[in-house]
């Protein structure tokens, strides 16, 4: 099944997605990797308000290579980073904010429960940085540049951003885990 979604995402938008479906997203997406996740969680603990909204948001695990221009920023290269590093912080993030989609590469371990009825994990093809840059139409804003260019939160306007594969759906089905389990069995049989 192929889906074309518009942000901000509603709960109904993601409930209809099944693991293995192909998704294209248009609208705004926000980048966040290790440091941004840590700061979001710190601010939550201190009861501070975020400078951007994560309600219905699509969060992109990405540390882009940007170039400063006269009028703003130009995206040079913006492929996905390994999502596994954010696995531990993701349940707390989802508890505090209604993030509806997480985009990254390689899958995440032990987050399927935290995602249930709330959010989906969308896999974007690793290494496809030129393609991603092509589909990012505008840099709308940047927050927390003090964390460094790759770790800052970039608000990007995208059109038909994809193909994204539903890796973990909101019903708890996790393709990466299934592939891993099957491969493990085949490995045992080969021994």
């Amino acid at each position: 099944m192929e889906h074309h979604l518009q942000t901000p995402l509603k709960k109904e938008d993601i409930e209809k997605l099944n693991a293995g479906d192909i998704v294209y997203i248009s609208g705004e997406i926000l980048t966040a990797r290790d440091e941004a996740h840590a700061r979001i969680l710190d601010m939550e603990k201190e009861g501070k308000k975020l400078p951007f909204s994560l309600e219905g948001a699509a969060v992109y695990h990405c540390g882009p290579l940007m170039q400063k221009t006269k009028n703003g920023w130009n995206v040079v290269s913006a492929g996905p980073t390994t999502s596994g590093r954010m696995s531990k912080m993701t349940p707390s993030l989802l508890k505090a904010h209604a993030v509806r989609a997480i985009i990254g590469k390689g899958g995440m371990k032990d987050v399927a429960d935290a995602l249930k009825n709330k959010c989906v994990y969308l896999a974007y093809t690793g290494g496809c940085a030129a393609l991603a840059a092509e589909l990012i139409k505008e840099v709308k804003a940047v927050y927390w540049l003090d964390l460094g260019m790759p770790e800052a939160v970039w608000v990007l306007r995208v059109e038909e951003f994809g193909p994204l594969i539903v890796g973990i759906d909101a019903k708890g089905k996790d393709i990466f885990a299934e592939v891993r389990e099957k491969a493990q069995k085949r490995l045992e049989n080969q021994k």
């Binding site: 540390g63 590469k105 390689g106 896999a123 093809t125 690793g126 891993r180």
Partner: protein, 280 residues
């Protein structure tokens, strides 16, 4: 006798070589990716392979690096015994890396291993990594292979007992299994067998440079089949192609040793070469 090329032109050529390696994949890699895309039956894997092929096309068309991880620079230099550059080759290669980092641009990836402080120009102690080899003749061949961390991090090395040659295949399978989708498959797998602790790793890295359409030996075919039977597939989402090729390089080793190194390479098997002729 000296080389025809000036230091300045050499630096220019090497910076251009780096740009080429970052933007364009070798033909054998692209045609192999096309072949596996056509053969793939899983729709999910097919969509990922199509995205990869489109990305390759766009990077070339727009002259931008195909991946935001532009890697660390690994050079293989084959210098003819009669070739005399007339300048410090190593210093010139470093300068070319700094130039390409600013020009292409490349992501500054070189950091001190403990303080993690970034040098900001992709050079540092031991970086770029340059391997020197003397060969007969009067020419200089330089190959650069930018290596990203996603796949390099999934590589491994083990010192086996000499009687354990039968375990090599399983070691490779376990390495690929643990890596899953993280090193951005479909992979190229370079295996170094023999030599010493460090020589095995170097052999594995050199094996990654073999053209993907090089006919494979029995052991290579056997390992490739076993790897693909795991079904990890493109990006770890399942599918028939987890690896594009397996290449093994061997060297004699101590009678009491059996070093085996497995170097993992993502789909973006980037490398490019240039040859300079010496003066007659």
């Amino acid at each position: 006798m000296s080389s025809k090329i000036s230091r300045e032109n050499f630096i220019r050529s090497i910076a251009d070589l780096l740009r080429k390696a970052e933007i364009e994949l070798p033909d054998d890699v692209v045609s192999t990716l096309r072949k596996v895309e056509t053969a793939e039956e899983s729709q999910v894997a097919k969509s990922q392979l199509q995205a990869i092929l489109m990305n390759i096309e766009l990077a070339k068309r727009h002259g931008v690096p195909m991946c935001q991880d532009t890697g660390i620079m690994i050079f293989f230099v084959e210098i003819g015994t009669e070739f005399q550059p007339g300048f410090d080759l190593e210093a010139a290669i470093r300068e070319a890396v700094i130039l390409a980092t600013a020009e292409v641009p490349l992501r500054p990836n070189a950091v001190d291993p403990l303080t993690r402080k970034n040098s900001l120009d992709n050079t540092g102690v031991g970086i770029p990594d340059i391997h020197w080899k003397f060969v007969p003749g009067n020419q200089l061949k330089i190959t650069v292979a930018p290596k990203g961390a996603g796949s390099e991090n999934m590589s491994s090395l083990r010192m086996f007992n000499p009687t354990e040659t039968g375990n090599i295949k399983n070691f490779v399978l376990e390495t690929v299994m643990n890596a899953g989708g993280m090193p951005c498959p479909p992979l190229t797998i370079g295996i170094g067998i023999g030599g010493s602790f460090d020589a095995a790793a170097r052999l594995a890295k050199e094996a990654l440079l073999e053209p993907l359409d090089t006919p494979m030996e029995e052991l290579e075919k056997e390992i490739l089949e076993a790897v693909n039977a795991l079904g990890i597939g493109c990006m770890g989402l399942g599918g028939s192609t987890t690896a594009l090729a397996v290449h093994v390089k061997t060297a004699h080793c101590h009678t009491a040793s059996l070093p085996v190194a497995v170097n993992i390479q993502c789909w973006a098997n980037r490398h490019a070469s240039v040859v300079f002729k010496g003066e007659k």
